[in-house]
Amino acid sequence: MAQLTAPIRTSGAGRMADRRTVVGVAAMLVAVALLVSVGDLGRIAWVRTFFVIFGSILIQALPFVMLGAFAAALVEVFVPIGVFEKLGALPRPLQLPAAALAGLAFPICECGSVPVARRLMQRGLMPSAAVTFMLAAPVLNPVVIASTYVAFRGRSTLWTMVGGRFLLGMLVAIAVGWVVGNRSKEQLLKPNPEEEHEHMLELGRPEARWRRFFVHLGNDFLFMGRYLLLGATIAAAIQTFLPTSVLTGVAARPVISVLTMMALAAALSLCSESDAFVAASFVQFGPAAQLGFLVFGPMVDLKLVALYAGTFRRGFARTVVLVSAVATFVGALWVGVAFG
């Protein structure tokens, strides 16, 4: 049978690119290259600082986005449809905790968990479970547990921080999943423009798996990468200009200190595998505020919000931010009262 590759639908993104567009994009890249090399923009201290922080966030995060896209493409191409639907057979009270604990088996950070969760949803996993997994994996994975242990080793709050991060992270992820409830993947996910352009439909037989694998891999990377870029730009700007000394004044105020550390975690956009060392550095803050930093940061930060906004439909990012913030805040305060 003849093998055809037909578009399902094309993007309604307006004007198509022509030769002028190509020349324009190339000219922009040449101009940037000239500006930074000949113009020596790096001699300006704040520009240099911004470039270094911006570059480091991307260089650190993009490999994990790539690994996440790799795992997502494997799920898409090699895991049969319906496998994840079987998870729905679990008793309902167990579904979300099971999804959260699945994070233990995936040593991926927050950048990698978004494409994986998106793909899991598309392959039939309940959206609430996929969201729970997405939020829990960066907090519950073994690398993060180990780094938290190392960062707080030798302190009296060691087990409060390690255990608190694990349990509170799981509870917050489950809370968000519970709020997502029975919403369908169509209600949650935005279509990927990369896949809209030339969504391959094979007439008669599916296209070679290796081709589909690489197309999905590239599409996910390009899709996530653009939002990561946006988030990294904002995070780097804040890191460049925010004097951290403004924080020391609120460290002694129990409620405000928790909120401040949560806001700082969101602004700094650190990788969950290293944030424990930064949290441990804020010795002037108590365990409740440090725990707020450690739980909230891997679920909500500037680069993640950009990723959520690109991946999910309007309102989802707001739900994640609000529910995560309230649940983390209440949980951290409780830990502060119980163990502080």
Partner: protein
């Protein structure tokens, strides 16, 4: 006669009916973006520039990313021909172009590290984020990481205080603030756990230096005697020499 027979076989009909594949603009553009990023990671790895962005704990991601992105680029290129290619939207092409901008920034800008500008912004972190135990601080050669770690806990502070009067040999960059006396400077070095975004700073006050000899961000080697005074650590310099920026400008705890 033979042509007619061949024409009736399924294989021949399949070949004749299969429409030709042509390059897909969307996939080709995506391939170029992937190739640019793959090229960046190879560049970082081959030039050692990853040390300006990552710690030695996490620099393994660079060759891994280079390999994965190269494979992704080749795979996408191999699947970039389709039977019915669609044109790419101008907006999409601009977005892909913007995704290459960070690659251009890193490759074409001069190698740079965090300097004194950021030191001022990160002063609240001073001497922290380091998980070295008090016993590590109390014995062996003192490093800037030990000094930084000595300020994270009362035990560390006490362990560091016991080292008062010992000889030290530190490498770092000069940081001069508005209120720094002429015969002093701060010797600073960033401590990076994962990437520069989590950098904290280790600083000691160096006294007894020749006024005006060094400027902000000069890299120097300071030899002298250490005197921890509570949260402040002073080094009475016996020798200060200019050195090249180290290949690994950040310390890893």
């Amino acid at each position: 006669m033979s042509d007619a027979i061949v024409a009736r076989t399924g294989a021949r009909i399949h070949d004749d009916a299969a429409p030709p594949r042509r390059w897909s603009p969307t996939r080709v553009a995506g391939t170029l973006v992937l190739a640019a990023w793959a090229g960046l990671f190879w560049f970082l790895w081959l030039t050692g520039r990853e040390a300006f962005y990552l710690s030695t704990r996490t620099d393994w991601v660079v060759p891994v990313a280079a390999g994965l992105l190269t494979a992704a680029t080749m795979g996408r290129l191999a699947s970039a021909k389709v039977t019915t290619p669609k044109p790419i939207a101008a907006r999409e092409l601009w977005i892909m172009g913007l995704m290459v901008v960070p690659v251009v920034l890193v490759v074409f800008s001069a190698p740079a590290t965090l300097g004194t500008f950021s030191a001022g912004k990160r002063s609240a972190f001073t001497g922290t984020s380091v998980a070295t135990s008090a016993s590590d601080i109390g014995s062996g050669e003192l490093t800037l990481v030990d000094v930084a770690a000595g300020e994270t806990s009362p035990d560390g502070e006490r362990a560091l205080a016991k080292r008062a009067g010992e000889k030290v040999d530190f490498v770092g960059f000069v940081s001069i603030r508005d209120d720094t006396p002429a015969d002093e400077f701060l010797l600073a070095r960033y401590v990076v756990t994962c990437c520069v975004a989590d950098a904290t700073i280790a600083e000691v006050r160096v006294v007894n230096v020749t006024p005006g000899r060094f400027s902000d961000e000069d890299w120097v080697r300071v030899q002298g005697t250490i005197f921890p005074l509570g949260r402040e650590v002073i080094v009475d310099a016996s020798d200060v020499t200019a050195v090249e920026r180290p290949d690994h400008p950040y310390l890893t705890p």
